[in-house]
C-alpha cells in the first residue's frame, strides 16, 4: 500500500503549460502517474503532448477538468500571485488532495486558502513542497523518480533536496519506501507531520518512518508527542539547522528561530524523549532505520 497517492490517483496539473508545469508533467507521466487533465485558463481545448504521443486534454478550469476526466488529485505549478486562488479552485471542484509546489505564495493568501480547504474537507500538501511519491505507483510533484524504490519505509520531510539526500541513501542500501512526502517549508502548510504520521499509521505496509525536520515552529515537537502517544512502529528523525543563527530566515519562510523557540536542539531533545532515534548526519539515517526494521 501507500499513502496520499497511489494507483487510484487521477491527476490534474494546474499550470500545465508553464515552464515548470510542463517539464514536471512529462516527468510524472514518464514515472507512470495517471495525468488525466491539465488546466491553464484561456487554453481550454488544447492538448498537452506527453511522452510517447500520449495527449493530456487542457481545460480552462479545474471544475471542467474534474467533470470531464474524474480527476481526484491536483498539483499546482501556478505562479505565486495566483497560486492560492488555484488551490481554492481545486478545493471548490472537490479535489480531495491538492499538492502545492509553488514557492513564495503570500502568507495571508494561504491563511484563506487553508481555511477554505478545511471547510471543504480537502487536504492541501504544501505549499512550497516537493510533493509526494509512492514508489512504483504514482509521483505527484517534483521528487525525482529515480531515487526511490518500493519498500517498507515511510518518509516525511519539510525539505526537498534534503529528502532526496536521505532517500537516496535508503535506496542505495536496499531499503525501499512506501511513500515519501514533502510537507513544505512555508510558515503556513496544509498538512503537517502529525497528519502524515496518522496516514502512515493507517497504512498496513509502512513498517518504519523517517521524519526530517528543521528549525522553526513546533511541528516536530508535536509530532514527537504524537509518536510517543499513538505510534507502534519505529521512527528515525533528523533535524537540519543546528548551526543556524536565531532570528534569521534560512531560505524556507518557516525556517526561523524566533527568540529561543524553534531551535534544532529542542527538536532533537523532543525526538529523543519520545523514543525517536536521532540521526546526526543524513547518512546515519540508513543504519538507524535498518536496525529499527530488524528489531
Amino acid at each position: 500500500m501507500a499513502i496520499l497517492v497511489g494507483d487510484d490517483t487521477r491527476l490534474v496539473v494546474q499550470g500545465i503549460t508553464g515552464r515548470d508545469g510542463s517539464f514536471h508533467t512529462l516527468q510524472m507521466m514518464e514515472y507512470g502517474t495517471a495525468v488525466v487533465a491539465g488546466v491553464t485558463p484561456g487554453k481550454g481545448g488544447q492538448t498537452f503532448e506527453g511522452p510517447d504521443g500520449a495527449g493530456v486534454p487542457i481545460f480552462n478550469s479545474v471544475d471542467e477538468a474534474v467533470a470531464e476526466t474524474g480527476a481526484n488529485t491536483s498539483v499546482v505549478y501556478v505562479p505565486p500571485a495566483f497560486a492560492a486562488s488555484a488551490i481554492e479552485e481545486a478545493v471548490d471542484a472537490e479535489i480531495s488532495l491538492v499538492v502545492a509546489i509553488t514557492e513564495g505564495i503570500p502568507v495571508q493568501d494561504m491563511a484563506r486558502a487553508h481555511a477554505f480547504a478545511r471547510d471543504h474537507g480537502a487536504r492541501v500538501l504544501g505549499p512550497n513542497c516537493p510533493g509526494v511519491i509512492s514508489p512504483g505507483k504514482a509521483k505527484v510533484g517534483i521528487i525525482p523518480g529515480n531515487i526511490v524504490t518500493p519498500g517498507p519505509v515511510g518518509v516525511i520531510s519539510r525539505s526537498g533536496t534534503l529528502t532526496y539526500e536521505a532517500v537516496v541513501h535508503l535506496t542505495n542500501a536496499g531499503v525501499g519506501q512506501t511513500t515519501c512526502v514533502g510537507i513544505g517549508g512555508d510558515t503556513l502548510i496544509g498538512t503537517n507531520f502529525v497528519d502524515v504520521l496518522e496516514a502512515f499509521a493507517d497504512d498496513g505496509d509502512t513498517e518504519a518512518i523517517v521524519m526530517i525536520g528543521e528549525i522553526g515552529g513546533t511541528d516536530e515537537q508535536e509530532a514527537a508527542q504524537w509518536v510517543q502517544e499513538n505510534l507502534d512502529i519505529p521512527v528515525v528523525g533528523f533535524i537540519a539547522g543546528q548551526t543556524a543563527p536565531p532570528g534569521r530566515r534560512m531560505g524556507h519562510a518557516g525556517a526561523i528561530i524566533s527568540g529561543s523557540s524553534g531551535t534544532a536542539e529542542e527538536k532533537m531533545k523532543a525526538f529523543e524523549e519520545s523514543g525517536i532515534a536521532v540521526a546526526k548526519r543524513p547518512v546515519d539515517i540508513v543504519g538507524l532505520i535498518q536496525s529499527a526494521l530488524s528489531a
Binding site: D20, H24, P80, A81, E103, G104, I105, P106, V107, Q108, D109, M110, A111, R112, H114, A115, D119, P130, I142, I143, P144, I147, S157, S159, G160, T161, L162, T163, Y164, E165, V168, G185, T187, L188, I212, E214, I215, G217, T218, D219, F238, A240, G241, Q242, T243, A244, P245, R248, R249, M250, G251, H252, A253, G254, A255, G259, K280, R281, P282, V283
Partner: protein, 378 residues
C-alpha cells in the same frame, strides 16, 4: 522585510491610529532643528532593525536643545545588535499614564493572524509571557470573517476598565488589523500603546515586518527597504533571488534547497569546520544564479574554500555545472572549489565539469570532509 519604527508609524497613521508626530534626522543639526520646531521635551530614537534599543542607549529623552544635540551625536553611528544607526526619529515626549502592549502576527498553528495584547506594556512581551502569563490575552482572527466587532471590544476590555478607553482601544485594534491585512504584514507590534494623562490612547512605538512574498502587491512599501541596514552581500543575494545569510566561519557553502543547505552547514560543523554562510540557490536551473552565488560567497574575505553541494531535482546538474564553469571564467575566484553533484542530469553535469578541469564528489560527507580539510589547510 523588517521596516523601521518611523516607517511602521507612517503605515499606522495612514490607517487612522493616533500616533504622535515625528521626523527623521541623519545629523545632530537636523535633530536639533526638528526638536526646536516641536518645542518642549522630545525623544531621540535610533532607527535600526533590532529590539532592545532602549537598553542599548539608543532611545533618549531630551529636554533642551543641547541635550538633543548630545543624544543625537551619541546615537547616530552607534552599533546596536550589529546594526549601525544612520537615522534617528525625533518625536515630542508624551505625558504617559499607563502603558499596554498590542501585537498581531501570523500564528503558524492557528494558520491565521493572531492578536496578543497585554495591559502590561512598555517591556519585552516575551518576559511578560514568562513572568505573568495570565496578563496576556490572545485572539486568533478567523480569516473568513476578519476581525469582528465584538472581538475588538473583547481585546480592548482586557486592556482597560474605563469605557472611554475601551472604545478608543477597540477602534485602534480594528485599524491595526486593517493595516495588517492591507500592507501584507507578518507582524505588527505597538509597544507601548499608552494612555496619556489627558485620557488619550496612542501608539508611541511600533515594530513591523512585511511578508516578502506579498511585497509585489505593494510597490509603495518596497520603498521602505533600507539598503544601508543590511550587508551588501544580502542585498545582492536578494536581487539575484538567492537566500543568503552570512555567518562567521570560513567554509563558503553553495547548496540547492534550504534544508540541504542547513544540513550541509551542520555537516561542516560535524567534521570540525565552521560554515561561512547559508546559501540556497533555490529550485531553478538558471546558470546565472550560480554565478551570482559564487560572487556573493567570494565577497566574504573569510572564505577559505567554496563547497558546492547540489542534489538535482528541479535543479538540473548540467545547468549548475555550466554556471560553475562560466563563473570561473567570468570572475576571479581565489578560494579553491570542491563540488558534489548528483541527481537530475548529473552525468551531463559531470561531463561539463570534467571538460573544464573540475572533478566532483558524489557523496555529501566526502565533499564536506574534504572542504573542511582544505579550509583548515588554507
Amino acid at each position: 522585510m523588517d521596516i523601521h519604527e518611523y516607517q511602521a508609524k507612517e503605515i499606522l497613521r495612514a490607517s487612522g491610529i493616533p500616533v504622535p508626530p515625528g521626523e527623521i534626522a541623519t545629523t545632530p543639526d537636523e535633530a536639533v532643528a526638528i526638536a526646536e520646531a516641536y518645542g518642549g521635551t522630545v525623544v531621540v530614537k535610533a532607527q535600526v532593525h533590532s529590539g532592545g534599543r532602549g537598553k542599548a542607549g539608543g532611545v533618549k529623552l531630551a529636554a533642551t536643545t543641547s541635550e538633543v544635540r548630545e543624544h543625537a551625536e551619541n546615537i547616530l553611528g552607534m552599533t546596536i545588535s550589529g546594526f549601525t544607526v544612520g537615522k534617528v526619529l525625533v518625536t515630542p515626549a508624551e505625558d504617559i499614564d499607563t502603558e499596554a502592549y498590542v501585537g498581531v502576527l501570523i500564528d503558524r498553528k492557528a494558520q491565521a493572524a493572531t492578536f496578543i495584547v497585554s495591559a502590561e506594556g512598555g517591556i519585552d512581551i516575551e518576559e511578560v509571557a514568562h513572568s505573568d502569563p495570565d496578563a496576556i490575552h490572545r485572539l486568533t482572527v478567523d480569516p473568513r470573517y476578519g476581525l469582528m466587532r465584538h472581538q475588538a471590544y473583547g481585546l480592548a476590555n482586557s486592556l482597560y476598565e474605563d469605557p472611554a478607553l475601551v472604545k478608543q482601544a477597540a477602534k485602534i485594534i480594528h485599524q491595526l488589523y486593517a493595516a495588517f491585512t492591507s500592507s501584507g504584514a507578518s507582524m505588527i507590534e505597538i509597544n507601548p500603546l499608552i494612555v496619556t494623562v489627558a485620557g488619550e490612547v496612542k501608539a508611541i512605538d511600533a515594530k513591523m515586518s512585511l511578508d516578502d512574498s506579498e511585497l509585489f502587491r505593494h510597490p509603495a512599501l518596497l520603498e521602505y527597504r533600507d539598503l544601508s541596514a543590511e550587508p551588501a552581500a544580502e542585498t545582492k543575494a536578494r536581487e539575484a533571488n538567492l537566500s543568503y545569510v552570512k555567518l562567521d566561519g570560513n567554509v563558503g557553502c553553495c547548496v540547492n534547497g534550504a534544508g540541504l543547505a542547513m544540513a550541509t552547514m551542520d555537516l561542516v560543523k560535524y567534521y570540525g569546520g565552521e560554515p561561512a554562510n547559508f546559501l540556497d540557490i533555490g529550485g531553478s536551473s538558471d546558470p546565472e544564479k550560480v554565478i551570482s552565488a559564487l560572487e556573493i560567497i567570494t565577497s566574504d574575505s573569510n572564505v577559505k574554500v567554496i563547497l558546492i553541494n547540489i542534489f538535482g531535482g528541479i535543479t538540473r546538474c548540467d545547468d549548475v555545472a555550466r554556471g560553475i564553469v562560466e563563473a570561473t571564467t567570468r570572475i576571479d575566484i581565489e578560494p579553491p572549489i570542491v563540488i558534489r553533484l548528483t541527481g537530475t542530469n548529473d552525468k551531463e553535469g559531470l561531463a561539463i565539469l570534467a571538460e573544464a578541469g573540475f572533478s566532483a564528489f558524489s557523496s555529501m560527507d566526502d565533499v564536506v570532509e574534504r572542504g573542511v580539510e582544505m579550509a583548515k589547510a588554507g
